[in-house]
Each structure stands twice: as C-alpha cells, then as structure tokens.
C-alpha cells in the first residue's frame, strides 16, 4: 500500500522557488508560462498492520503524519492520496 502526500505552499504565500523557475523558463524561451508553484510530493510505502487496515483509517494515519511532520500548516497545505 502506497500513500502520496502532496505538500504545497498556501495561496498568498510567496513562492520564490516557483518564481525563479518561471523566470528561468521565460529566459529559455517558454513565454507562455504564466505562473509556477513548486510543491513536494512525498511517497510513503506502508507496511505491517497499518497497510492492512481499512482505507479511511490508513488515510487518517497518513494525515496525522502530514499534520505532525510533513507539512508546516502555518504556510503549507497538504493532501493525501492512497494508491494501490
């Protein structure tokens, strides 16, 4: 069982990394890129007892991981997706 946690900056929080990528794309000639945001995608391979639980429980556990560690909810949003 795999889970993916997508962590992105909240709207309104300046994303200098994204902006730098946008500028670099422009200077490479890709003029039609209006905005760029860079986020993290963290893929977790789950095992043991957790992997065998019903999906909602797994999802709750992964959400807790995100809340506690993977995202800083002052500036970041996250979403969780279970795969396979």
């Amino acid at each position: 069982m795999k889970a993916r946690v997508h962590v992105s900056l909240k709207n309104g929080v300046l994303d200098p990394q994204g902006r730098a990528i946008g500028q670099a794309l422009h200077s490479l000639g890709f003029a039609d890129v209006a905005e760029v945001r860079q986020g993290k995608l963290i893929e977790l391979e789950l095992s043991g007892a957790l992997a065998k639980k019903p999906k909602p429980e797994i999802e709750a556990a992964v959400k807790e991981m995100a809340q506690k560690l993977l995202a800083n909810t002052v500036i970041e949003n996250f979403s969780v997706e279970l795969v396979g």
């Binding site: 300046l14 200098p16 506690k68 500036i75």
Partner: protein, 230 residues
C-alpha cells in the same frame, strides 16, 4: 549562569556557542545535552545552536522540533527557563511552536554567509539589556532559510507587544529593502515569545565575541544573560 546547549546530531555551531558561553561565564563551560537525553539537570538557560539538526532535508528544524529533548525544552520554557535559539535553533523553536512564525528559504534562494548589521529593537529583555534601543551591531549570518514569515496579525502583535528583538538595517539604523538580506517580513531578524523568556534569531552573536575572529558586537548578549542569570 548555568547553561545547557542542546546538541543534535547535525548541530555544527554548538562549539562556537560553547566558546561564547564559556567566556561569558568566566571560564565555566556550559553543559552539552545530547538530543537523545531528555533528562538533564536544571539550568538557567537552554541554548538551541546553529547547524542542520537532522540534515534538515524536509524543512529546517522540522524533525528536531519533534525530538524527545524538545518536549522537555518546551516544558521547561513553559515554566520560565530562558531559551536562546540561534539560526537552526530559531527554525526549530518556530517549528516546535515556542515562537510564532516560520523561516522560509531566503528570497534569493542562496545560502548567505556575511557580516551584517542589525538594529536592536528593544533593550527591555535580559537578552538585549546590554544594548541601547536603536543600537546597530555587526554580527555574521550563515543560513539558507532565514526568511522570517508570519501573518499580518502575528506581526502586529509582535510589534504591539515589543517582541521584535532585531531587524536587518544599515549602520545608520535605516531599515530598508536593501538591508533585507533574506526577504523577512519587516526585516525581522529575531523575535521573543510572550514574556520575553525565549529569543530566536537568525544571525550569530556567538560568532562575534572575539576580536580576532568576527569582532565583539555579540558580547553584550551573552554578558547580559550571564549577569541576569547569575
């Protein structure tokens, strides 16, 4: 003053801090507390030093904030033990909720190691009591993620409660966009908790306590602590 430096596996300015504290306490070295030891003697001051606590690959300070020793540090801070959190320590303190706000990547996306000027915003604390309000001091910075960010309400609260400790400025005390080296909101370089028992700052006063290496503008901070906590 009895001080303890919390040493994480990736701390790398613990030694610099130890030299500064030893000098300030008349040759008495501080305690060094390994991150795995949540159990350490009572001290007057806890220091979270600079470095890359656990590699800091996810977000600076995020993992350290959840370490067992930090639970203990938080508990003691709640009871009034003074905490000095420098650079990575500041990041850890924010992640752990000891201080408001977050530290994001420098706006220029580069590591910056350089001597800078910061203006002392208040002398009303045991950390800054040896400085004049408005005094400009020279200290180095060395960080990649020192861009202090908090929402407008938080910043207003910090200002209203006299909890901004330092701002990036020039030698004349002007706080300008040009002196804002990392993009911090309001040029903020350091903040206090409520009650001013915890100070977090990005610059390294401990690297400005020796005339041969880095100057002596940071001495006041340690001297002030030693005097107040003796």
């Amino acid at each position: 003053m009895k001080a303890a430096i919390i040493v994480f596996p990736g701390s790398n300015r613990d030694r610099d801090m130890k030299m500064a504290l030893t000098k300030a306490s008349g040759g008495k070295p501080p305690l060094e507390v390994w991150h795995g030891d949540a159990d350490f003697p009572k001290v007057d001051l806890i220091v979270l030093p600079g470095g890359f606590s656990y590699g800091d690959y996810l977000r600076c300070g995020a993992m350290a904030a959840h370490s067992p020793v930090m639970r203990e540090v938080k508990a003691r801070a709640d009871k009034g033990t003074r905490v000095l959190a420098v650079c990575n320590g500041f990041q850890i303190a924010c992640e752990a909720g000891l201080l408001p706000g977050v530290l994001m990547s420098n706006a220029g996306l580069q590591f910056i190691c350089r001597e800078i000027t910061m203006r002392v915003e208040t002398s009303d604390s045991i950390f800054t009591g040896k400085y004049r309000k408005g005094q400009c001091i020279r200290v180095p910075v060395a960080h990649h993620d020192g861009n202090y960010n908090a929402d407008a309400d938080t910043v207003k609260m910090l200002e209203d409660e006299d909890r901004v400790a330092f701002r990036y400025a020039n030698l004349f005390g002007d706080v300008t966009p040009e002196t804002n080296l990392n993009g911090s909101v309001g040029n903020i370089a350091g903040v206090f908790n409520k009650g001013k028992t915890v100070l977090g700052l990005m610059p390294h006063p401990e690297n400005a306590t020796d005339p041969v290496c880095g100057g002596t503008d940071g001495v006041g901070l340690f001297a002030g602590l030693a005097e107040a906590l003796q």
